[in-house]
Subunit: 544 residues, 2 copies
Amino acid sequence: MVTSTEKIFSEFKEHSVAEFFKKNQQMLGFSGKTRSLTTVVHEYVTNSLDACEEAGILPEVTISIAELDKDSGKYRVISEDNGPGIPEKHLGKALGMMLAGTKFHRYAQQRGQQGIGASGCTMYAQITTGKPVKVVSRYDSKRITCEITIDLKSNSPKIMNLVKEDGQFGSGLRVEAEIADAKFDKSSFGVYEYIRRTALANPHLQITLNDPEGQKSSFPRSSGKIPDKPFVVQPHPMGLSTNDLIDFAHREKECRRISSFLQERFARVSAAKVDELRALVPDLDFDKKPSELAWHESEKLIKAIQNPAIKWIAPTTDSVKPIGREQIEKSLKNILAPEFVVVTERSPKIFKGGIPFMVEAALAYGGGAGKKNGDMTGSEVIRYANRAPLLFDNSGCAITEAVKEIDWKRYKLKNFEEEPISVFVNLSSVYVPYTSAGKQAISNDEEILAEIKNAIMEAARDLQRYLSGINREHDRKERKKAILRYVNQLSKDLPDLAGKGKTAEIEKMLVHLIETKYSGQIEDGEDEAENGNGKVPEEEEIDE
Amino acid sequence: MVTSTEKIFSEFKEHSVAEFFKKNQQMLGFSGKTRSLTTVVHEYVTNSLDACEEAGILPEVTISIAELDKDSGKYRVISEDNGPGIPEKHLGKALGMMLAGTKFHRYAQQRGQQGIGASGCTMYAQITTGKPVKVVSRYDSKRITCEITIDLKSNSPKIMNLVKEDGQFGSGLRVEAEIADAKFDKSSFGVYEYIRRTALANPHLQITLNDPEGQKSSFPRSSGKIPDKPFVVQPHPMGLSTNDLIDFAHREKECRRISSFLQERFARVSAAKVDELRALVPDLDFDKKPSELAWHESEKLIKAIQNPAIKWIAPTTDSVKPIGREQIEKSLKNILAPEFVVVTERSPKIFKGGIPFMVEAALAYGGGAGKKNGDMTGSEVIRYANRAPLLFDNSGCAITEAVKEIDWKRYKLKNFEEEPISVFVNLSSVYVPYTSAGKQAISNDEEILAEIKNAIMEAARDLQRYLSGINREHDRKERKKAILRYVNQLSKDLPDLAGKGKTAEIEKMLVHLIETKYSGQIEDGEDEAENGNGKVPEEEEIDE
């Protein structure tokens, strides 16, 4: 019976990562017509922003979308930026090869991380319309025009019709992709919403959408400040696993000793700290080559690093590049025009012991805030990771979870779902733990979840104060109105009862009395009494 | 300024798929300690079952888990089966190379699909404990013993300490992996639950768990019937995309004409059907080589195939291998010992026009059904795809969504969450649209969602009938009890009122009257009246 073993294995084959993602397009965000179109725009905009910031250029991006035949589901997407462009020799890999890029091993905060995005779009174009993407790359004053597809079997780029021109072409990238199985709509998962949210979190970006319906939507920049360049930071020892340390050690080419390797390659490792480690791992030869570090030695070193006896200075948080309170406020006012805005500015925190991250949270209330649904306005949660909007997979995201876990009633929001409120959260980190390759949700890491909650609650306390003010004002007006209703009758009755005075006169006096009572500053004691449940919510913050 | 372009790209690198999944372990299910351990067991059990079924062997699997040091989070997992084993030349690829396997391009129903699982476990062992996996493969009476790791940079296997023995070793595979960052627990995400659910859906499997607490749990097989071998089916033209057709055509080596290629390679394509296609695509030369088929021609062919003028015979559904009503019933009774079980047996359906699938649904109520939570019992949803349990990512799964969308009150379940009910659903298909590489959730495809709902509702109608019976019985008993309470008093009062008769005598008569009324068969009319909302729910099924 088991002689068939060879037969079973006769079909054994290897496959390329491009074939894998062709078969599992949904993992890259190509699932559903609306989402597929948004994914293409997302990948191109993300790459443009990363490239501009790295080159120190204030980004200008234009996305133009046209439906090729009415109701065909076929669209042409053109993305144009004023970034640095891509040199000829990297064009193929950047747009026609998966898992190739500058960002994979780098320890710096960027939107893109995996080197899949733009090549994924090339694949999607190719398997839905059979068309290559058309590229115009201007860099160092040269201009390259070409067409690119991926050879899916080998995950390698095919470049066609390449034209190279020298001249004064400035810099920038233009990519044109034709895709099918797509749909443009104005839903909260659509391209328009994606671009609106991108503009919200990137006040230095000038972005324009030319949509298939012929409408042009421009989001002008509200800030001329180029975000600081992302830079590569040294990892902190507390964030290392045994395997990470082995990887770094075996890749090491310059340092000849484990002791110098530790000091040179990791943050906060001084000679004194190495001595402390020596004392904790006496049987390890710190003078041998890093490449000779064995697993069990790395394991002991990591244990020693995590020993509470060693007091590490926390990692530098310079690598974390937030948007900034002022910028967020400007942006929210600019785009949402809300009645009230509050932005929290918290210090960076560390997760897994060595990875710095920072949460920015803002609440916009009333006015244009919240989600319009016909005549009604309800709450909306606007999620970002490194300033890139997260539109999909909201139920699995730490930000959604944090919003859900907050007891909004304590902050004067009776029914959160039905309040005109936008909750804005941006997580910045060199390493964002996404739940999938589609990069649409942040996984529920405890430390991250707690910090997101704290950031939102901090903002919510300010909102509560504002809403208490409104409530007081509202209550006061209502009471005044009620009393004034009786004034007229009272004015008529009083003269009769008292036997003297004139109605008009008494009415005037009464109105004056009421105006004084209900329109002026109210004293503290009264405030307290009026404000019913005026107590500030207990602090739920976790001590750091 | 833009002279830095070259510098920006100086770090441009390519990465292997193994490096990608090392960085994104969560995509393979390695996130969280409990889940990581369950994932390892899942991958090994899945492979054992697929291999046994393919070789026509009744599977016997033993999983042994030991914690290496108390509270270290380090575990040794040993998986042993009586399958066909793996030949020497395939061992490395099967366990030490990602995206290599027999199942990737195959159009047959199997649990594994992607050729990542077991190699993913090797990677996880290696990056958490630095240890290779130890393998003993017995096949065709030979025995190979070796150790395997993955070279992550190149995604290629490294085989160490290989010993090959000839003799009478029978067949089977034993894999031993040491992993860290893991946890054994008895939660609904743990190994025990995983194995229990696997046993539920695979009555032909004999599986034993030796857990770290020293407990041995055996799930004996309840059926000696080996499931039919999965077999490769021809794709149906209605399920093809333009790109699929191009792929098949350009890979074609035997058929020399497009006409014969269409007939030979796809299901339900007769010579007459080719003639119909010819008429619809007059400018395509059906006599040219398949390898010469151009994109625009493929596009026209696909349009013609989907033209309603052509009546296709539906694809054969032989490829779909369900568990079977009898087997599910046996299994649920065996393991859950519920008060009531109902299993629906529906015919296979087609999604995306050409991919056959089948949904089996069962409801178990009362007794051991439902999820115990302290003293309380609540509802549970037991999800499967091709008989493999789906424990994680339940919120994003079509099965969870279907259960949520059903109005359970219509089926006599007042508060679904708190009812002692297990909802069992298995989706069988040659192609299961998973939401991620972790293969834990089925994506919300409309056709699939609708069929899952219909299958569950069909079962729910039977449950409703059963529960109505219980309710009637309950109501009757309550009413009888209430009336009997008055009998005694009435018996005393009646003689006084009427002036004759004896209390004891009257009481006896009354009790007899009541017993007759409330214990016997109830006539139909009364039944209707008692049953309050006795109407059968409207059919929500979608016409096929």
